[in-house]
């Protein structure tokens, strides 16, 4: 009997450790859908650069969880959603362990509808629309969502004493359409008033008509908010300031670029949100320095460090799951809480898989990004997706 129990115990231990042990020598395969060209390339390229840099670092340490060498299956979507969908199916067929989707809500949701039923966790590189996780239970965000950014910015606008706002939206993307509306909702929750809303088309050649409309608003708003990005924001702000309108302007994290800061006097004093700030001596600053030393490329956007943080999220999830099984990793990822990251820590637990992360507020002064503060969004005033 004793012999039988001993044998059974050994067998049970072996059996329990089999999945882990069997995979111990396996690779951890990550399907990565990048956009090397097209409209998403400006966000995808730096995200992938940061991600692949950290994959190399991680592999030098033994791989994911220190024991599973990472192999990337990289596909170029050329910013085409149809291509992204095709690669999603290919990744499912390859039974990859994890998928990283392009840095936008639309392709991420399109891919998620295929990958989520296969229980393969799929994380966007930098999509921030909080609705993107509605594509499936295994779809994840990685960056502070639009409604988190809006909650922090809206509260700050009220704190500055602004009483009224006018927002500029575009129906061409969830980011440009809903970001300003989230801001307006948060601003109103803090006592502000929304005076009205203008609309532009992405790639619109001229903003003079919109600026004339703003000039003729009565009463004039205390602050204008938009989630327009390049090249629309530079066109808008130049037209606005060129027409002599000096109403303060606030924007979203897409304004955190050297191009916007390089626009000169027209962007002086603009306040925007950001995913992070590389303060001297911070992990973020050390990462940027190491990345530049290794690659020769300046990490002048947060998408680089966020690319690395994505790998950190995967690593933390695999460790928490104690397994590389994609379904188990997905569940573990969704339950991570206050896990350290380089840009900021992240919490997925209770967030519908859009991580709660600190939002940075910054002001452009003299062509530089000046830190104001960093904080988590207040759940009380954070607009619902």
């Amino acid at each position: 009997m004793k012999h039988y129990l001993g044998t059974t115990a050994i067998a049970a231990v072996l059996a329990a450790s089999m999945p882990f042990a069997a995979l111990a020598d396996d690779e951890y395969v990550i399907g990565v859908a990048v956009a090397n060209s097209g409209g998403l390339a400006p966000f995808s390229q730096p995200s992938f650069d940061g991600f692949s840099y950290c994959v190399d670092q991680k592999n030098a340490e033994g791989g994911i969880a220190g024991q599973y060498p990472i192999r990337l299956e990289v596909r170029d979507t050329r910013s085409d959603i149809a291509e992204a969908v095709k690669f999603a199916q290919e990744f499912v067929d390859l039974s990859v362990n994890f998928i990283v989707a392009p840095p936008d809500g639309d392709p991420t949701m399109a891919m998620g509808q295929i990958t989520s039923p296969a229980q393969i966790p799929t994380m966007t590189f930098a999509g921030t629309a909080p609705i993107l996780t509605s594509a499936g239970d295994y779809v994840f965000g990685s960056y502070p969502a639009d409604n988190q950014q809006a909650a922090v910015l809206g509260a700050y606008a009220a704190e500055l004493g602004y009483k009224s706002t006018w927002i500029l939206t575009s129906p061409d993307a969830a980011y440009t359409q809903f970001g300003p509306r989230y801001f307006a909702a948060a601003f109103e929750a803090n006592g502000g008033t929304l005076l009205g809303e203008g609309s532009f088309s992405m790639g619109q050649p001229d903003f003079s008509a919109i600026v004339t409309t703003i000039q003729n608003l009565d009463p004039q708003p205390d602050v204008i908010m938009t989630s327009a990005w390049e090249p629309d924001f530079p066109a808008f702000i130049r037209a606005l300031r060129g027409a002599g309108v000096d109403i303060p302007v606030m924007g979203a994290d897409v304004l955190d670029t050297p191009t916007v800061r390089g626009l000169g006097d027209v962007v002086e004093g603009i306040v925007h949100t950001s995913g992070g700030y590389a303060a001297d001596g911070s992990d973020h600053a050390e990462f940027n320095a190491a990345f530049e030393a290794a690659t020769g490329t300046v990490a002048d956007t947060n998408y680089v460090v966020n690319g690395c943080d994505i790998l950190g999220m995967i690593d933390a999830a695999v460790q928490a799951a104690g397994s590389t099984d994609s379904a188990e990793v997905g569940v573990a990822l969704a339950n991570l809480s206050e896990t350290p990251g380089i840009m900021s820590s992240f919490t997925f637990e209770g967030t519908n898989r859009m991580p709660m992360r600190e939002v940075v507020l910054a002001r452009i002064e003299g062509g530089e990004k000046v830190f104001i503060r960093r904080q988590l969004a207040d759940p009380e005033t954070m607009p619902a997706p």
Partner: protein, 295 residues
């Protein structure tokens, strides 16, 4: 009334840029029956040319001149490298060739320079505004209208008073006869591309001054607008291209300015519906060319 006047100035400014672009497309189309969808990339070349020269520390005047020269060179190079080999091919083949050229140039800029936009710092006075009566107008708008008028007058002088210009107009009417009269086809076509490039270069300067940045996909929207303007004006008609440009600019700006807030998101759809309505009434455009040849 002031609002209407101000928006009309905005419309003329935008329409003028569209007119320049449409004219650039029409000049080439009228002779070789090619809608050059790489015309937008000629603008992009200008933008990066200006950016590069400014970055090198040279004055803005030199940067603008370099940008326009770069546009002419780029346009002529496209003709020499890509389109000359396709001469005589049908309209569809030429169209696809121009798409290929466009894509190649976009990807070269994205991978060779950066996928992200770069800021182009132009002098402060360009972002100022001036008062015309009781109406405040941006300097870029004023310059746009002035430059467009000067460019159109200059083009008209070239086309009516120079031998090459007259030959080009003749070629637009009947290319075969012009060649039978001993005029070099290569020279006429190269000149058409040079003029087209110059117009794209000038439009790009105004575009960059308005937008303040350059990116690899910068030319995609303008060439689409120019194509619409060319079709509305009448394919193959230089005057029609100008009219089409102004019509498109006026429609877009007036809709942006005067649509109710709830309808603003549908502005592009309404604008295109108006354009379709115009084409239903005048299928060959507002000022049809003498011998249009649609694909």
């Amino acid at each position: 009334m002031e609002l209407f006047v101000q928006q009309t100035i905005n419309a003329l400014s935008l329409g003028g840029i569209y007119a320049l672009l449409a004219l650039g497309l029409a000049v080439v189309f009228s002779i070789v029956r090619l809608i050059n969808f790489a015309h937008g990339e000629v603008m992009t070349v200008t933008g990066y040319g200006i950016w590069f020269i400014l970055l090198s520390g040279f004055p803005v005047g030199l940067a603008i001149a370099f940008g326009v020269v770069a546009a002419i060179a780029a346009s002529m190079s496209m003709e020499r490298v890509a389109f000359r080999q396709m001469r005589g091919a049908d309209v569809t083949t030429l169209l696809i060739t121009s798409f290929a050229v466009s894509q190649i140039i976009q990807v070269l800029f994205q991978t060779g320079i950066s996928a992200r936009p770069v800021a182009v710092i132009l002098p402060d006075w360009l972002t100022d505004s001036i008062m015309i009566g009781s109406v405040r107008v941006g300097m870029v708008s004023v310059l746009s209208i002035a430059v467009v008028i000067i460019s159109l007058i200059a083009l008209r002088l070239v086309l009516t008073h120079s031998v090459t210009g007259i030959a080009m107009r003749a070629a637009a009417e009947d290319f075969a006869v012009v060649r039978l009269m001993g005029i070099s086809a290569n020279r006429i076509i190269a000149t058409a591309f040079a003029i087209s490039g110059a117009l794209a270069g000038i439009a790009a300067v105004l575009w960059v001054a308005t937008r303040g940045s350059v990116d690899p996909l910068m030319g995609a929207i303008p060439v689409l607008k120019a194509f619409i303007a060319t079709v509305v004006g009448g394919l193959g008609s230089l005057g029609g291209a100008v009219i089409g440009g102004f019509v498109l600019g006026i429609v877009e700006v007036y809709l942006q300015a005067f649509l109710p807030e709830t309808l603003l998101p549908y502005r592009d759809a309404i604008a295109l519906s108006i354009i379709v309505g115009i084409l239903v009434l005048r299928p060959d455009g507002l000022l049809p060319g003498v011998s249009t040849n649609r694909s």
